[in-house]
């Protein structure tokens, strides 16, 4: 299939990426809003468009368990999930990373239960924040498609060998239809390349024991290995992003997309689909002569703290918009890391936390304007709440103690 533009949902776009990757094995279980991603892939499978062996398991726990077995055996392996499905598999999510298995998994972000809710927020991805997986985020369907392809190269790089989650927003991105540029089949296959596992189970010349009991005398060293691999991923993510941009003529975002940030005095940092909405508000404010900018964070693990600090060095006021809550913490999970990243700077911007969109709560340009209004007030020497919540009843900010 030569390069062509198709009207696709984010789920379909990710399924197209999986079709072009043509993994050896896919093990998956349906969950809203991931379901029609796997349905689309199953259509490709039923039509013979992929050579993949599908394992239609009885739960997400078994999906990730089968992925671990398959990837350890030496097969390129993928799955996809959302929310409670990710929560159910999380035990094995950690094991996959510790066994250094380069599994790639689109995660269609949805609020975790309870109360049960099917709509978007990032609590599922944040649950796996410390699992040892690389986490990529996507503003739109195009990025869901391209990040899924790049994820294979990042995961399988010999310096990395870590699994990758490709996150995009449930319903907003997964079910919203967009024009998506699907790249040439052969070029994608060439970019992804053949999988050459270093230590497959299925090699009679070198029988392996994978997953032994690892006690106080070695466990820490193996964790250090994971830490080093995550650090090594920093360079690989940039290299793959650069190579992809060169090969396919796309934007080279690296860790994040800085939007009108060069001369910005105030900026919002945000990830996934709200990035697109924020950028529109930035455009409007620019028309009014206000120096607004934005960062659409593409990589959360490894966290590009130094690069964010550098990019925000000249900005006076920053708002971090988190779509997940860390109860009892000082603001949202990414806010905490961003503020830490800025700590070493000689003159650091003021940073405020704005939580939004839990359980799919609407996030509109007016809400983002509220955030910029607060930043503008800060710029002018006024004071605003450090922690805020957008578009929620009972609007009084919670008191947060250090």
């Amino acid at each position: 299939m030569p390069e062509k533009k198709l009207a696709l949902t984010g789920n379909q776009a990710a399924a197209y990426a999986m079709m072009q990757i043509d993994p050896d094995v896919v093990a998956a279980y349906p969950i809203t809003p991931q379901t029609n991603l796997m349905q689309k892939f199953a259509d490709f499978h039923a039509d013979g468009d992929v050579s993949t062996e599908l394992i239609l398991v009885e739960s997400e726990h078994s999906a990730m368990s089968a992925c671990v077995g398959s990837e350890a055996a030496g097969a390129r392996t993928m799955t996809a999930t959302s929310a409670n499905g990710l929560a159910l598999m999380v035990e094995i999510v950690y094991i996959a990373a510790s066994l250094r298995l380069p599994i790639v998994m689109p995660v269609v972000n949805r609020a975790l239960s309870g109360p049960i809710n099917i709509h978007c927020d990032h609590s599922d991805a944040m649950l796996c924040r410390d699992s040892g997986w690389i986490q990529l985020y996507c503003v739109n369907a195009q990025e869901a498609y391209e990040n899924t392809i790049q994820a294979i190269r990042i995961a399988e790089h010999p310096d990395v060998l870590l699994p990758v989650m490709v996150n995009f927003d449930g319903f907003i991105t997964s079910h919203g239809m967009e024009n998506v540029l699907i790249h040439d089949d052969e070029k994608v296959k060439k970019f992804v390349g053949e999988y050459h596992p270093q230590y497959p189970l299925l090699d009679p010349a070198l029988p392996l024991t994978i997953g032994p009991l690892d006690l106080h005398d070695y466990y820490f060293e193996h964790k250090r290995g994971q830490i080093d691999a995550m650090e090594a991923a920093r360079k690989v993510i940039l290299d793959v992003s650069g190579e992809f941009a060169k090969e396919f003529g796309t934007r080279n975002d690296g860790y994040f997309r800085a939007y009108k940030l060069e001369d910005a005095e105030m900026a919002i940092v945000v990830l996934n689909s709200t990035g697109g909405t924020v950028n529109i508000v930035v455009d409007r404010l620019r028309e009014q002569g206000k120096k607004a900018g934005a960062i659409n964070l593409r990589v959360f693990r490894p966290f590009p703290g130094e690069e964010l600090a550098e990019a925000l060095a000249h900005v006076k006021c920053v708002a971090m918009m988190d779509r997940a809550v860390s109860f009892g913490a000082m603001g949202g999970p990414i806010y905490n890391e961003l503020r830490s990243a800025l700590y070493e700077m000689d003159s650091r911007p003021a940073v405020i936390s704005r939580m939004y969109g839990l359980g799919g709560r609407q996030i509109e340009t007016s809400h983002i304007e509220e955030v910029f209004d607060d930043l503008f007030r800060l710029l002018g020497g006024g004071s605003v709440d450090e922690y805020g919540y957008l578009n929620v009843r009972q609007h009084e900010p919670a008191t947060v103690k250090a």
């Binding site: 368990s65 089968a66 671990v68 398959s70």
Partner: protein
């Protein structure tokens, strides 16, 4: 077919000595027997659930496994093995796999009857070409004998202990082999390491039957059952002779006894040799509990005979 002794002495050793299982452990005996049933030229990948066998054979940086082996977690040996087996088929299909592999998953009764039942059921239903062996030592023995779905009625365990108002586990054990037979698998069997020729034959049938096969193997546990290391075989044989653990197989839905005791012994013969049932005899005889156990064994044995077309 050569005798078990000849095979054991001459075939390829896939599980080496020097592991840290207990002296006299039934699980290592049965695992050797299962692996000995493979043709020496066939490769095997072993998938383990968390349990005694796993922790005692693979303490990093050592391993007792001379074949490829993977341990993932406690409850997912079925799903993990299904992933390995599918990877093999995928690579075979693409011409990337010149070797011939068999797939064995094993778990204890904790990892099979209880926490891993869903994962096992899913793997069996999907029809993977694999063998699942449950080494059933009737409790969570790796962590000091907590009760499981397989623990027999009346046994003294650390989580259902015998006490002033308790005689031990109040429930009867789950019929896991029956559950697996209800999956309509091509081959399901019960075995015991005390009858190696029978076990060897069953394991071989399972490995060389296409599709998902299951064998439940009773594995006497020295510290859990509170028996001596030299009593593994004798205690196992008594489980068979009392019909607590009948030896049978279900081939494509047809039930068949592979051994019928000449004389069905009373269950008390099996109970009284094990420390975990001592409280049923001392300080006072709990004949009521022993009678309940006997009645349940009789009921199940009668059912099995009917299924096997033996009459009752």
């Amino acid at each position: 077919m050569p005798s078990f002794k000849e095979i054991a002495l001459t075939t390829r050793q896939r599980l080496s000595g020097g592991h840290r299982m207990c002296a006299g452990c039934g699980a290592t005996m049965l695992m050797r027997q299962v692996l000995h049933s493979l043709d020496p030229e066939d490769e095997v990948v072993v998938t383990a659930a968390t349990g005694c066998m796993e922790v005692s054979t693979t303490i990093y940086p050592y391993t007792a496994w001379r074949c490829s082996y993977i341990h993932n977690a406690f409850e997912n040996a079925g799903a993990t093995c299904s992933g390995v087996e599918t990877a093999y088929r995928a690579l075979k299909k693409k011409g990337k796999m010149p070797h011939s592999f068999k797939f064995l998953a094993f778990g204890g009764d904790g990892g099979t009857y209880d926490i891993g039942l869903q994962s096992l059921s899913g793997a069996m239903e999907r029809g993977h070409d694999m063998v699942y062996v449950c080494y059933d030592n009737e409790g969570y023995m790796n962590t000091g004998y907590q009760r499981s779905g397989s623990t027999p009625h009346g046994a003294n365990t650390t989580t259902a202990p015998a006490g002033k108002v308790s005689y031990g586990k109040p429930q009867f054990n789950k019929d896991l082999t029956g559950i697996l037979a209800a999956h309509r698998l091509p081959y399901v069997a019960q075995a015991i390491p005390a009858k190696p020729n029978d076990l060897l034959k069953k394991a071989r049938t399972a490995f060389y039957t296409k599709g998902p096969c299951f064998i439940n193997i009773l594995s006497p546990c020295i510290p859990g059952w509170k028996i001596s290391p030299n009593e593994t075989v004798q205690t196992g044989l008594l489980a068979v002779d009392t019909c607590f653990w009948p030896l049978y197989e279900v081939v494509d839905g047809v039930w068949k006894l592979t051994f019928k005791p000449k004389e069905k012994k009373p269950v008390v013969d099996w109970l009284q040799g094990q420390g975990r049932f001592r409280h049923l005899f001392k300080p006072e005889l709990r004949q009521d509990v022993i009678d309940e156990i006997q009645a349940e064994i009789d009921r199940r044995w009668h059912e099995l005979l009917l299924k096997c077309g033996e009459g009752a």
